[in-house]
Amino acid sequence: MIIELLVAFFLVVGASFALIGSWGLLRLPDFFTRLHGPTKATTLGIGGTLIASTIYFSAQTGGPSLHELLVTLFLFITAPVSAHLLAKAALHQRIRSIAPPPEIDEPRE
C-alpha cells in the first residue's frame, strides 16, 4: 500500500513536471526562455516517472529493478547537450530574444 502510494506520488509529480515543462514550452515568451522548460522540468518529470517505475517493478518482482535508472542517467547526460546545441543554433540564427544577445563570433551574412 505504501509502495502503491509512493508509486502514485512519483507518477503524479513526474507527470506534473512534464506537463509544466511543456506548458513552459508553450507559454514562455521567447525561444531562449522556452528552452528552460523542457530541459529541466521535463527531465525531472521523466525522472519522477522512472523512479515510480523502479519502485513499482522492484516491488512486483521482489528484487531490485533499477534499469530505469539507466534511462534517467542517459537523459541527464544528453538533455543539457541538446539544450546547449539548440541554444547555439538559435544564437547562430539570431532569432528573437528578450535578453539582449551577446556579440558572438559568427560570420555575417
Binding site: F74, V81, H84, L85, D105, E106, E109
Partner: protein, 931 residues
C-alpha cells in the same frame, strides 16, 4: 525423303557458294549451278509417277503443338513450279555470272539467290500450311535482301523495303487466314485441307479466311492495289528481276490461288474478289506499262498485268479457266524471264534502260534484238508463240463466263482492251528500243554481250517457239499433270494453234491491230496520261504511310510519355485505385465484429498524427520543417507499435527513423529547396483526388481487415518458438529461424543498398551551399566542444546497450537489427560530433568487408546444417551446463543474428559516412539564387 533434298540442296549450295568466293568468280557460280541442277534430279526422278497421275508425300513431325510438320508434297502443280524454279534458276545463275560486275565476288549473291530458291521450292512443295507460310515469308525476306543487294543506291533500299513491308504484311494476313483455315478443317495438313473444300465453303468463317488468304496472294503477286512494290523492286539486279519478279516469286501468289482453287473457288465471293481484282490488275497493268519509259518499268507493269490475267483466270472459277491460268503461268515465265534478261543485256551493254534514249539498237546487237523481239511477240500474243495460245484460251473463257448478270459482253470487251494495251507496250518494247532512229547520248557504244550471257535467253525463246508451235508434243503432259494436281482431274481442253475462225480469234486480231494503232498514237496518249493521272497511287499512300507512322508514333509517345515521374506515379496510383475499386465494387461487409476499446492516449496520438501528416504536406516547401513533421509521424507510428504489443517493431522503427532523419538531413544540405510552388489548381485537384481515393480505399480495406477474426498459422510459432526455436521472443525466433531465409534476404538487401549507394556516390560533385536558405552563412564551429565531449563517452555506453539488445534478442525484444542500428547510430554520432576524419582514424576497419562478412556469417551458419543432413538454415541449439555460470543456451541463430548485426552496422556506417564525404568533394559553388 528424296523430296527433302529438293529443298536441302539449294540450302547447302547457299552455304557453300560464299565459302568458295575466294576461289574466284566461277567457283560460287558452279556451286550454285550444281546445287540447282542436283536439286532437279529428285524432281525428275519422281516426274514419271506424277505424270502418271500420282503424288509423292513425305512428312516428318516438327512442332506437333503447332500442327507444324515438315511435310512435303509433290504433285503435278508443285512439279510444274519446281521445274520452273529450278530450270529458270539454272539459266539465271548462268546469266548472273556474266551480268554482275567483276568487282562482285558473287558469293553473297548466289547465297541469297539460292536461299530464295530454297524458300520458293518450300512454298510449292509444302504439304503443311504453317510450313508453307514459313517458306512464304522467307521469300519475302530473301527478296528484300536481293532487291537491296546494291544497298548503296537509295532506289534499291526503298524498293527492298517496300517489297518487304508489302509482301511481309501480306504474309501476316496469310498467316491469319491459314490459322483460320486450319482451325476450320482441324488440321494444317494441306492434303486434309484440299479434301475439305465443301466444309470450308460452307463455314461461317469462309469469307474472312478467304479475304486473309487472298491478301497474302495478292500482295505477293502484285495485284492491284498492292502492285506498286513490284516496279520499285526493279532496282534489283536484273537476274533477280528475271528470276523473282517474272518467273517465280510473284507467281507464289497465283500458285496459292491454284493450290486452293478446289477449296475456295466456285463461290460468288471468290468470283468477284479474285476475278475483280485480277481484271482490275490486268487492265491497270497493261495500261500503265505503255507509259513507262524505263525498260524494266515497262516489263514490271507488264508482269503486273499478266499476273492480273492469271488471277482473273483463276477467279473465273471454271476448270478451263484454271487450265488457262496454269498454262499462262508457264508461258509468262518463259517469255518474261527472257525479256528481263534481254533488258538486262541492253542495260549492261548500253548503260541505260531509258527508252527515250535507247533507239535503233538493231544495228548494234541484232542477235539480242531478234531474241527480244520473239519474246515480246509472245508477250503480245502473236500466233505461233506460246503467249498466243494461253491468251486465246483466256479470251475463250471470258466469253463463256457470266459476268455481271446483265452484260455478257463486258468481260470479253475488257479482256480485249487489255489485249490492246498489251500489244501496244510490246510493240513499244520492240520499236522504241531497236528501231525508231538513232540512240541518244548513250554512256557507251552498245554491242553484243558475251556468248554465255545470251544462252539462257536463247533457250527460253526456243521454249516460247516450241510451245507455241507444238504445244501438244511439248507442254501438254506437264500441263495435264499440273491441272490434275490442281483440280484433281483433267477437263477436256484443246491445245492447238488453230481452232477455226471464232470469237477469241477475232478478239486477238482486234487486240493486235488496236495495239499497233495505239502505239502509233502514243505521243498524244503520253501527254493525256500525264494530265489525267497525277501520281496518286497506292505507292504514294504507302510512302506517306511509312513516313507518317513514325511521325504519328512519335507524337503519341511524346504526348503520352512526357518524361515526368509525376505522370508515371499518377498512372500507377490510378491503376491501384481502379483495381481496389473493382475489388470493392460488389460491396464489402466492413464490420467483421472484432472491436478494441478506444482510449484517450490513442486519440491524442491520432490527433498528433493527423496534424503532423497533414502538416508535412502543408509545409513541404520548408523542407526541414517537413522533416521535423515526418519525425513526429514516425514517433507516433512507433507508439502505435508499442501500444499494440510490438516492442521489437517499436525499437526498430524508432532507430530506423533516426537514421533516416540523418540521411535526409544529409540530403537536405544539397537539396535545400526553398522554391515557391508553381502548381496549378487543376493539378492539385487531380493529385488530391488520387490521394484521397487511394487513402480511402486503403483505409476501408484496413478497417475491414482488422475487424475480422482471423485464424493465422501463428499459433504454431507461439507454440514452437521455445521448444524448437530455443527462444521466447517469438518475433525474433521467426526472424532468425522460422523465416530466417527472409532475414538472410533482407540483410542482402542492405548489402546491395550499400554497394549501390557507394557506387552512386563515387565521383558525384554537388554544389555546396555556403549558407542556409535565408542567406546566412554557416557557423564556423564545425564540431561544438560540448557535443564532441559528450558523444565520446556515449559510444562505449551505447555499445554496451547494443550488445545487450543483441544478446537477449532471442528471448526479449531486441535482436541483430536493432542492435546494429544502435551501434551504428552511436558511431554516426561520433561522425556528427567530431567529423569523418577524426572518426575514421579511430575506426580502423573498412565497411564492405564487414558487410560481406556479415552476409557470409549468416549464410555459412545456414550452410552448417547441411553437414548434419539438415536443410539450409536449420538452427541448432546447444545446451551447456557450466559450473558457476549455470545453464547456457547457444543457438546457431545467435551466430546468424550476429551476421545481421554486422551487416546493419556496416551498411549504416557506409551509407552515412560516404554521404557525409560528399561535402569534401572538390567544391562546386552554387549559381546565384534565382538563376
Amino acid at each position: 525423303m528424296a523430296l527433302g533434298w529438293i529443298i536441302l540442296l539449294p540450302l547447302i549450295g547457299a552455304v557453300v557458294s560464299p565459302l568458295l568466293a575466294r576461289a574466284g568468280r566461277d567457283a560460287p557460280a558452279w556451286a550454285a549451278g550444281a546445287a540447282t541442277a542436283l536439286a532437279l534430279l529428285p524432281a525428275l526422278w519422281h516426274a514419271p509417277a506424277i505424270f502418271a497421275g500420282g503424288e509423292v508425300l513425305t512428312s516428318v513431325p516438327w512442332i506437333p503443338q503447332l500442327g507444324l510438320d515438315f511435310a512435303l508434297r509433290l504433285d503435278g502443280l508443285s512439279l510444274l513450279f519446281v521445274l520452273l524454279i529450278l530450270i529458270i534458276g539454272l539459266l539465271v545463275i548462268l546469266y548472273a555470272r556474266y551480268y554482275l560486275p567483276k568487282s562482285d565476288p558473287l558469293g553473297r549473291f548466289f547465297a541469297l539467290l539460292l536461299l530464295f530458291q530454297m524458300a520458293m521450292l518450300g512454298i510449292v512443295l509444302s504439304d503443311n500450311l504453317i510450313l508453307l507460310l514459313v517458306f512464304w515469308e522467307l521469300t519475302s525476306l530473301t527478296s528484300f535482301l536481293l532487291v537491296g543487294y546494291k544497298h548503296g543506291s537509295p532506289e534499291a533500299r526503298r524498293g527492298a523495303r517496300m517489297a518487304l513491308v508489302i509482301t511481309g504484311s501480306g504474309g501476316l494476313a496469310l498467316l491469319a487466314g491459314f490459322l483460320l483455315l486450319g482451325g476450320m478443317v482441324g488440321s494444317y495438313s494441306l492434303s486434309v485441307v484440299l479434301a475439305s473444300g465443301e466444309l470450308v465453303r460452307n463455314h461461317p468463317l469462309y469469307l474472312p479466311t478467304l479475304v486473309l488468304i487472298l491478301l497474302g496472294a495478292f500482295t505477293k503477286s502484285a495485284q492491284f492495289p498492292f502492285h506498286f512494290w513490284l516496279p520499285h523492286a526493279m532496282s534489283a539486279p536484273t537476274p533477280v528481276s528475271a528470276y523473282l519478279h517474272s518467273a517465280t516469286m510473284v507467281k507464289a501468289g497465283v500458285f496459292l490461288l491454284a493450290r486452293f482453287f478446289p477449296v475456295f473457288s466456285g463461290t460468288e465471293v471468290w468470283f468477284f474478289l479474285v476475278g475483280g481484282v485480277g481484271l482490275a490488275t490486268l487492265l491497270f497493268g497493261a495500261y500503265t506499262a505503255l507509259f513507262k519509259h524505263d525498260l524494266k518499268g515497262l516489263l514490271a507493269y507488264s508482269t503486273i498485268s499478266h499476273l492480273g490475267l492469271i488471277t482473273l483466270l483463276f477467279g473465273l472459277g471454271t476448270p478451263l479457266g484454271a487450265v488457262a491460268g496454269l498454262f499462262h503461268i508457264i508461258n509468262h515465265a518463259t517469255f518474261k524471264a527472257s525479256l528481263f534478261m534481254a533488258a538486262g543485256i541492253i542495260d549492261h551493254e548500253a548503260g541505260t534502260r531509258d527508252m527515250r534514249r535507247l533507239n535503233g539498237l538493231w544495228k548494234y546487237m541484232p542477235h539480242t534484238a531478234t531474241l527480244a523481239m520473239v519474246a515480246a511477240a509472245a508477250m503480245a500474243g502473236v500466233p505461233l508463240l506460246n503467249g498466243f495460245l494461253s491468251k486465246e484460251m483466256f479470251f475463250a473463257e471470258t466469253i463463256h463466263v457470266q459476268w455481271l448478270t446483265q452484260s455478257q459482253w463486258l468481260l470479253p470487251a475488257m479482256a480485249t482492251l487489255a489485249g490492246v494495251f498489251s500489244v501496244a507496250y510490246s510493240v513499244r518494247f520492240i520499236h522504241d528500243v531497236f528501231f525508231n532512229g538513232e540512240p541518244i547520248d548513250l554512256p557507251r557504244t552498245p554491242h553484243e554481250p558475251p556468248r554465255w550471257m545470251k544462252i539462257p535467253v536463247e533457250l527460253l525463246v526456243a521454249v516460247c517457239l516450241l510451245v507455241g508451235i507444238l504445244p501438244g508434243q511439248t507442254v501438254r503432259p506437264l500441263l495435264d499433270a499440273a491441272v490434275r494436281g490442281t483440280l484433281g482431274e483433267v477437263p477436256a481442253f484443246s491445245l492447238a494453234i488453230w481452232h477455226g475462225f471464232n470469237l477469241p480469234l477475232l478478239m486477238s486480231l482486234v487486240a493486235l491491230s488496236g495495239g499497233i494503232l495505239i502505239y502509233t498514237l502514243r505521243h498524244r496518249l503520253f501527254a493525256l496520261h500525264d494530265r489525267l493521272f497525277p501520281s496518286v497511287t497506292g505507292e504514294v499512300l504507302f510512302r506517306r504511310g511509312t513516313r507518317a507512322a513514325p511521325w504519328y508514333s512519335r507524337g503519341v509517345m511524346d504526348r503520352f510519355d512526357n518524361g515526368s515521374l509525376q505522370r508515371y506515379t499518377a498512372w500507377l496510383i490510378g491503376s491501384v485505385v481502379v483495381l481496389i475499386g473493382a475489388a470493392l465494387w460488389g460491396g464489402i461487409e466492413l464490420d467483421g465484429g472484432l472491436w478494441t476499446p478506444i482510449d484517450g492516449v490513442s486519440v491524442v496520438a491520432a490527433v498528433i498524427l493527423v496534424i503532423a501528416a497533414v502538416g508535412t504536406v502543408v509545409v513541404r516547401h520548408q523542407r526541414m520543417l517537413a522533416l521535423v513533421m515526418t519525425s513526429v509521424v514516425g514517433l507516433v507510428v512507433t507508439l502505435t507499435f508499442i501500444h499494440f504489443s510490438a516492442p521489437d517493431l517499436a525499437l526498430t522503427q524508432i532507430s530506423v527513423e533516426v537514421v533516416t532523419t540523418i540521411l535526409l538531413l544529409l540530403a537536405l544540405f544539397f537539396l535545400p529547396g526553398g522554391e515557391r510552388p508553381e502548381v496549378s489548381m487543376p493539378r492539385r485537384l487531380r493529385d488530391g483526388t488520387l490521394a484521397g481515393l487511394a487513402g480511402l480505399g486503403i483505409a476501408l480495406l484496413a478497417y475491414a481487415m482488422m475487424t475480422r477474426p482471423g485464424a493465422p498459422i501463428s499459433d504454431y510459432f507461439l507454440a514452437q518458438a521455445e521448444p524448437l526455436g530455443g527462444g521466447t521472443n517469438v518475433v525474433n525466433v521467426i526472424l532468425v529461424d522460422f523465416r530466417g531465409y527472409d532475414t538472410l534476404g533482407e540483410i542482402t538487401v542492405l548489402a546491395i543498398a550499400a554497394t549501390g549507394i557507394f557506387a552512386l556516390l563515387q565521383g558525384l560533385r554537388l554544389p555546396l551551399p555556403q549558407g542556409d536558405l535565408s542567406g546566412r552563412r554557416w557557423a564556423r564551429d564545425a564540431h561544438p566542444l560540448i557535443m564532441a565531449a559528450i558523444s565520446r563517452p556515449l559510444l562505449p555506453l551505447a555499445l554496451v546497450v547494443a550488445i545487450f539488445i543483441l544478446m537477449r534478442g532471442h528471448n526479449e525484444p531486441g535482436g541483430g537489427f536493432i542492435a546494429g542500428l544502435i551501434a551504428g547510430t552511436a558511431l554516426i554520432l561520433q561522425h556528427l560530433a567530431s567529423g569523418i576524419q577524426w572518426t575514421q582514424e579511430r575506426l580502423r576497419f573498412r565497411y564492405f568487408p564487414i558487410i560481406g562478412l556479415g552476409v557470409l556469417l549468416a549464410t555459412v551458419t545456414g550452410l552448417g546444417a547441411l553437414l548434419l543432413g539438415y536443410p539450409f538454415l536449420t538452427s541448432a541449439v546447444l545446451h551447456l551446463d557450466l559450473p558457476l555460470i549455470g545453464e547456457l543456451h547457444l543457438a546457431s541463430a545467435m551466430a546468424f543474428d550476429l551476421g545481421v548485426f554486422l551487416v546493419v552496422v556496416g551498411t549504416v556506417m557506409l551509407i552515412l559516412e560516404n554521404l557525409g564525404r560528399l561535402s569534401r568533394q572538390p567544391h562546386i559553388h552554387p549559381p546565384e539564387e534565382g538563376s
